[in-house]
C-alpha cells in the first residue's frame, strides 16, 4: 500500500491499552451472555427485575429494623445520642450495641451491618439514582428536541432506531460518539483542551445534589442550596470558555468570548429575579421555598403579586441565556461560527458538553419550578388531601403522590419548561450579540431593578392576605389558569386537526411508525 502524501502531519497509529481491551472484552462477554436471554424472555425479565428491586428494598428494611431494635435495646449512651436514623455510627459503636443486646457473633456482624446504616445506604442509592437520572434526561430531551424540531418544520424527526418513533436514537448516537476518535488539534493547549469538557459537565451533576425533587427527595439538604446551584452553573461557563480558548481556533474563541460576555451580563438580572421569591418567603433553602407553596395554585409564588409574575418571566428569559439556548445560542451559532466553542471537539468529549448543557437546562427549569411555579405541589391544595382523611396507608400515599405533591409533579413541570425551551429554540431566530447585550443591560436590568424595588415596597406596605393583596393574587392566578387551559385547548385542537393544518403534505399515518 502506497503512502499518500498529505498536507497534515502523519500521526502514529493509536494503540489501545490493556484496560481498554479488558473493558471491551467484558462488554462483549456480557452481550454474548445476556442478549439471547433478553431476546427470548423480555417480559419475564422486566417483571423479575422489578420484583427483585422491591424484595431488595423490603429485605433492607427488615435489616434496618433488626439493627435499630438491637441498638435501641442495648441503650448505651452512644446510641442514645446519635441513633441509627440520626447520624452515622462508628463500627465500634455498632459492635458495642450488638454485644449489649446479646447478639451472638457481634464481632463479625458489626462489619456486615455497618455499611447498611441508613445514611450510607441512602447516599449510595441517592447518588446512583441521580447519576442515572442525569444520564437519561439528556438522552430523552435530545430525542424529544429532534422530534419537536421535526414537527415544527413539518417533518417527522428520528423514526427508525428502536422501532417506536426512533425512541433509542439518542442511545445509538451515544454509542457512535463513544466509538469516534478523540481528536485534539496539534496547536491546541492540550491539557486545557482535555480538561474543559469535564469542567462543563461535572458542575451540572453537582448542582443536582442540592436540587430537591420533593420535600424529602433531596440528596443533601443545604440551607444555601440556591447559592450553591448558582455557583455550579457559573463554573460550567468556565468550562465552555476554556474549551473555546484552548481549541486555538478563531471560531471557538469567538464562541467563548460571546459566552463570557453573555454570561457575565445575564447573571445580574437572573440573580435579581431570584431575589424576589427569596424576599417573599425569607429563606435560601429550596426545600422551604417549595414547601410554602402547598396551598394550591393560588399560593404559587408566581401568582403572589405583579412583581413576582414579571420576575418569573424575566428569570426564564435570563435562564435561556444562561444555558446558551436559542435565541441566545450565540456561543455555538452553527450558521456563523461552524459550531462555536465545540468546533474542535469530537466523540465523547463533545457529548460531555451536551450532557452538561441539557443537565443545566433541567437545573434552571427546576429552579424556576421551585421558586415560582409551586415546586412539587399540584394545583390542588394540600388541605384538600387532609380533608379527605386518607390516612397514612401505602395506597393513600400513592394517591397523594399522584394527585397532590411529589417528585412526579416536579419532574413533570420541569419537563414542561424544558419543552418550552425547545419550542422557543425552534420558533425564534437567533439575535445578534449587540441585541443580546441590549436586551440584557438596557431592558432586563432596569426592569428588574424596578421590580425589585416595587416588590420590596409591596412586601413592606401591602398587608399579606389583605384586600389589595388578595385581588392581585386572584387576578394573576386566573390569568395563569386561563393561559394553561388555553394552551391545552390549542394543543388539543391542533392535534385533532393536524392533517388539515399541514396542508396538502399531510398524511394520516407516518411512514415507519
Amino acid at each position: 500500500m502506497t503512502q499518500l502524501s498529505v498536507p497534515w502531519r502523519p500521526r502514529a497509529k493509536q494503540q489501545h491499552g490493556p484496560m481498554a481491551a479488558l473493558v471491551a472484552g467484558f462488554a462483549k462477554a456480557l452481550y454474548a451472555t445476556f442478549a439471547p436471554l433478553v431476546r427470548a424472555f423480555p417480559g419475564p425479565l422486566l417483571i423479575g427485575a422489578i420484583v427483585t428491586v422491591i424484595v431488595g428494598v423490603w429485605a433492607n428494611y427488615l435489616v434496618f429494623e433488626f439493627v435499630d431494635t438491637a441498638l435501641v435495646a442495648a441503650d448505651t449512651n452512644v446510641v442514645a445520642e446519635t441513633g441509627l436514623f440520626g447520624g452515622l455510627l462508628a463500627i465500634t459503636e455498632v459492635r458495642a450495641g450488638l454485644i449489649a443486646a446479646g447478639v451472638p457473633g457481634a464481632g463479625t456482624l458489626c462489619y456486615l451491618l455497618y455499611p447498611l446504616q441508613y445514611g450510607l445506604v441512602r447516599d449510595v442509592i441517592g447518588a446512583g439514582g441521580l447519576l442515572g437520572f442525569i444520564s437519561v434526561i439528556p438522552l430523552y430531551v435530545i430525542w424529544w428536541e429532534r422530534k419537536v424540531a421535526g414537527r415544527i418544520q413539518s417533518r417527522t424527526g428520528p423514526m427508525r432506531v428502536g422501532g417506536w418513533h426512533g425512541w433509542s436514537q439518542s442511545m445509538a448516537d451515544g454509542i457512535k460518539l463513544i466509538c469516534k476518535e478523540d481528536l485534539c488539534p496539534a496547536d491546541a493547549d492540550r491539557p486545557l483542551f482535555k480538561l474543559a469538557p469535564y469542567l462543563a459537565f461535572v458542575p451540572a451533576i453537582l448542582a443536582f445534589f442540592a436540587l430537591p425533587f420533593g420535600t424529602y427527595w433531596v440528596f443533601r439538604e443545604v440551607d444555601v442550596a440556591l447559592v450553591f446551584i448558582l455557583a455550579m452553573l457559573g463554573i460550567e461557563v468556565l468550562g465552555v470558555i476554556l474549551a473555546g480558548w484552548a481549541s486555538n481556533n478563531k471560531w471557538s474563541v469567538y464562541g467563548a468570548m460571546r459566552e463570557a460576555c453573555q454570561m457575565v451580563s445575564y447573571e445580574i438580572p437572573m440573580g435579581m429575579a431570584l431575589l424576589i421569591p427569596i424576599m417573599a418567603v425569607g429563606t435560601l433553602s429550596l426545600t422551604e421555598l417549595g414547601d410554602t407553596q402547598s396551598g394550591g395554585w393560588t399560593s404559587w409564588i408566581v401568582f403572589r403579586n405583579p412583581f413576582t409574575f414579571v420576575a418569573a418571566i424575566a428569570y426564564y428569559i435570563a435562564s435561556l441565556a444562561n444555558c446558551k439556548r436559542a435565541p441566545f445560542d450565540l456561543p455555538e451559532s452553527e450558521s456563523e461560527l461552524v459550531a462555536g466553542f465545540h468546533t474542535e471537539y469530537s466523540g465523547f468529549r463533545w457529548s460531555l458538553f451536551f450532557f452538561g448543557e441539557y443537565a443545566a437546562m433541567f437545573v434552571v427549569s427546576g429552579l424556576c419550578v421551585i421558586l415560582f411555579f409551586g415546586a412539587w405541589y399540584s394545583p390542588l391544595p394540600m388541605s384538600l388531601a387532609e380533608s379527605w382523611g386518607l390516612g397514612d396507608s401505602l395506597i393513600a400515599r400513592a394517591i397523594k403522590g399522584l394527585l397532590f405533591a411529589g417528585p412526579l409533579w416536579f419532574v413533570g413541570k420541569c419537563v414542561f419548561l424544558l419543552y418550552v425551551q425547545i419550542w422557543i429554540r425552534w420558533t425564534l431566530p437567533r439575535i445578534r450579540i449587540d441585541q443580546v447585550l441590549y436586551a440584557c443591560i438596557q431592558v432586563l436590568l432596569p426592569l428588574m431593578m424596578v421590580v425589585l424595588m416595587g416588590h420590596t415596597l409591596y412586601e413592606l406596605f401591602v398587608p399579606t392576605h389583605g384586600l389589595v393583596w388578595s385581588i392581585f393574587n386572584i387576578i394573576l392566578s386566573l390569568i395563569g389558569a386561563v393561559a394553561v387551559l388555553g394552551m391545552i385547548f390549542i394543543a388539543t385542537y391542533g392535534f385533532w386537526n393536524r392533517v388539515g393544518l399541514v396542508g396538502s403534505l399531510g398524511v394520516e399515518t407516518l411512514p415507519g411508525s
Binding site: 452515622l88 462508628a90 496547536d187 493547549d189 491539557p191 486545557l192 480538561l195 469542567l199 443545604v222 440551607d223 444555601v224 447559592v227 450553591f228 448558582l230 455557583a231 455550579m232 452553573l233 457559573g234 463554573i235 461557563v237 468556565l238 470558555i241 476554556l242 480558548w245 484552548a246 486555538n248 474563541v253 467563548a256 468570548m257 463570557a260 460576555c261 454570561m263 457575565v264 447573571e267 425569607g282 429563606t283 435560601l284
Partner: protein
C-alpha cells in the same frame, strides 16, 4: 508598549500569588481559631460562627478529605506560581479556589463556600480569561518578566510567608466548644444588617464607586 504590558503582567502575577496565599491561609485556619484566645471571653457571634468549624475533622473520612483538598489547594497554588501561560494559571487558580471552597464545606460553612465559588470561580476567573481573550495579540499569552521584578515579587512574598508562618506558629489555637451551633443564613444576614451594618454599607458604597468609575472610563474611550 511591551514593557508596559510586562509591568502589568508582573503586577498580575504578584496579585495572583497573594490571592492564592490568602485563600490558602484563610482556608486552613477559619477565622475564630485565627484569633488568639478570644473565644473564651466572648460568646460566639453569628458572623464568626458562619465560618466556624462546628464539626472537627474527627472521623477518618473527614480527615482524609481535608488532607486531600488541602493538598490540592497547595499544589494548585504552586501551579499558579510556576505556570507561564495566563489561562493555564487561571485554571490552576480555579483549582486552588475550588479546593478552598470544598474545605469551607467540610467545615460546615456552606454559605462561605458557595459564595467563594460564585464570586471567585464563577466571576473573577471568567473575567480574567475574558480579559486575556480581549487583549491578547498572540495565540498564547505568556509571562516573561524581567529578572528584577521576579526578585522583587519573590522578596515581598517571602517576607509575607515568613511573617504569616511565625504568626501561625506563635498563636495558641482555642478549640471550639461542642455547643457552638452552625449559624443559619438568617442569623448571618441579621448580624450583617444590625451589628455590622456600617462595614457592610461601606463595602457596598465602595462597589458602587467602582461601578460608576468603570462606566465613566468606558465612556471616555468613546
Amino acid at each position: 508598549m511591551i514593557e508596559q504590558r510586562q509591568t502589568k503582567n508582573s503586577f498580575l502575577i504578584v496579585g495572583l500569588v497573594l490571592a492564592a496565599c490568602a485563600s490558602s491561609a484563610s482556608a486552613q485556619y477559619p477565622t475564630p481559631e485565627n484569633r488568639p484566645a478570644r473565644a473564651a471571653e466572648s460568646e460566639l457571634n453569628a458572623e464568626e460562627s458562619v465560618v466556624t468549624s462546628t464539626v472537627a475533622p474527627n472521623s477518618a473520612v473527614e480527615a482524609a478529605l481535608f488532607y486531600l483538598f488541602g493538598g490540592t489547594l497547595l499544589v494548585s497554588a504552586l501551579g499558579v506560581c510556576v505556570t507561564k501561560s495566563v489561562v493555564r494559571m487561571a485554571t490552576w487558580l480555579f483549582g486552588a479556589l475550588g479546593a478552598a471552597a470544598v474545605l469551607y464545606f467540610l467545615m460546615g460553612a456552606a454559605f462561605l463556600g458557595a459564595i467563594q465559588l460564585i464570586v471567585y470561580a464563577g466571576g473573577t476567573l471568567i473575567l480574567i480569561v475574558f480579559g486575556v481573550m480581549l487583549t491578547s495579540k498572540s495565540p498564547w499569552v505568556r509571562f516573561d518578566c524581567p529578572r528584577i521584578e521576579m526578585w522583587a515579587a519573590g522578596g515581598v512574598v517571602g517576607v509575607l510567608f515568613v511573617a504569616l508562618t511565625t504568626l501561625l506558629i506563635g498563636t495558641q489555637w482555642p478549640t471550639l466548644s461542642a455547643a457552638a451551633h452552625p449559624a443559619t443564613i438568617a442569623e448571618f444576614g441579621k448580624e450583617l444588617l444590625t451589628t455590622y451594618l456600617v462595614p457592610f454599607e461601606v463595602g457596598s458604597v465602595l462597589l458602587l464607586v467602582v461601578m460608576i468609575g468603570a462606566a465613566h472610563l468606558a465612556r471616555q474611550e468613546n
